[in-house]
Amino acid sequence: MRNICLIIFLLLPFLSAQADTMVVEVRIKDHLFFPDEIRIPADTKVKLLIKNEDVTAEEFESYELNREKVIAGGSQAIVFIGPLSIGVYPFFGEFFPKTAQGKVIVE
């Protein structure tokens, strides 16, 4: 029991504070992202609500943002990003990388 308390205590600094988070909606249609440029403020946590309107599945992926999430066809998913410093963070659809390209612009 004492060990469990210790583990929870050690994890506390890493646990996230649930405050009002800015939500940005992204649609996937015909293997393209709409919008394909997402502008967000620096040092802010943002909730991406990604709606896949294609019949095919897609994987939202970004090396720069360290994010990856499979979204089945005709369904939606949530991905949290940030807080980020100013810069451009490309993302892409791993299943259709030729067309499904976009970027998060932090300003």
Binding site: L11, F14, L15, S16, A17, Q18, T21, K45, K47, D54, V55, T56, A57, E59, Y63, E64, N66, R67, E68, K69, V70, I71, A72, G73, G74, S75, Q76, A77, I78, V79, F80, I81, G82, P83, L84, S85, E94, F95, F96, P97, K98
Partner: protein, 259 residues
């Protein structure tokens, strides 16, 4: 679409294939029956299909964090079974521990296969509704899976043909790296789901080895390479490897005392 399918399926298959072939080689070095791999493979594929079929509902569980929580749990369970394995190997003259070594390996392979397998299945089945592309995706997927499996087979033979002493050591080092990689990825999923808070990366080695490059992808599959890890990921990586070493050493010291 053909080449695209080759690459996507290869990437997923490669991870599971390297893990499975390492475990297979280790069980060969421990002079075990290797039949467990067929059982693990079949069970992994069944579980992967179930995961793929239910991904939409899983995804929206826990306020949209279901997929991350499930993935992070699976990775933590793989890590825990590696710890059980490390603890059980030195005592394998006892039947209980002998069975534990195989059970932990089967468990890890099944979990790893279900995760990677579900992604491959989701990718391929998505094309059932697109008949013009379905054949080339199937063909590409088969080629990708073939290459991934061949690399695994090659790796297996490489490991078992090393001198036994060196082979066991290398096997342990790989398990250690998989441990770190699993826990660092689990932490990343917890940040993606906003359960752990995300912080700025501790370093950026993307100019040195980009995660987009082939070497970056291979390093990701082998040692869980990240070009821009956060502090919590680095702590998870080092912490989980340290615990693995401590358990492996403690367990073999205990055996020596009993002898």
């Amino acid at each position: 679409m053909l080449l695209n399918a080759v690459i996507i399926v290869l990437r997923e298959v490669l991870e599971a294939s390297l893990l499975a072939s390492t475990f297979l080689a280790i069980s060969q070095m421990l002079q075990r029956d290797r039949k467990w791999i067929f059982f693990a493979f079949s069970l992994g594929l069944v579980m992967g299909s179930i995961y793929a079929l239910s991904i939409s509902s899983v995804s929206m569980m826990f306020g949209g964090a279901g997929q991350e929580i499930l993935n992070a749990s699976m990775q933590t369970l793989i890590y825990l079974s590696l710890l059980v394995f490390a603890a059980a190997v030195p005592h394998q003259n006892k039947p209980l521990f002998r069975n534990l070594t195989i059970i932990s390996l089967v468990f890890a392979v099944v979990l790893s296969l279900s995760r990677e397998g579900s992604e491959v299945l989701l990718f391929i089945t998505g094309f059932i509704g697109v008949p013009t592309l379905f054949n080339s995706v199937l063909l590409g997927g088969a080629v990708g899976a073939g290459i991934g499996l061949s690399v695994g087979v090659f790796f297996y033979y490489l490991l078992i043909h090393l001198t036994p002493r060196f082979g066991v050591w290398l096997g342990y080092v790989i398990l250690l790296l998989i441990s770190g990689s699993m826990m660092s990825q689990a932490v990343e999923f917890m940040m993606q789901a906003d359960i752990f808070s995300s912080t700025a990366p501790v370093w950026d080695s993307s100019s040195l080895i980009s995660e987009r490059s082939i070497s970056g992808q291979l390093l990701y599959a082998l040692i869980g390479y990240e070009a821009t890890p956060t502090l919590s990921q680095v702590i998870a990586y080092i912490g989980s490897m340290t615990l693995f070493i401590v358990i492996a050493i403690t367990s073999s010291t205990l055996r020596e005392k009993h002898l």
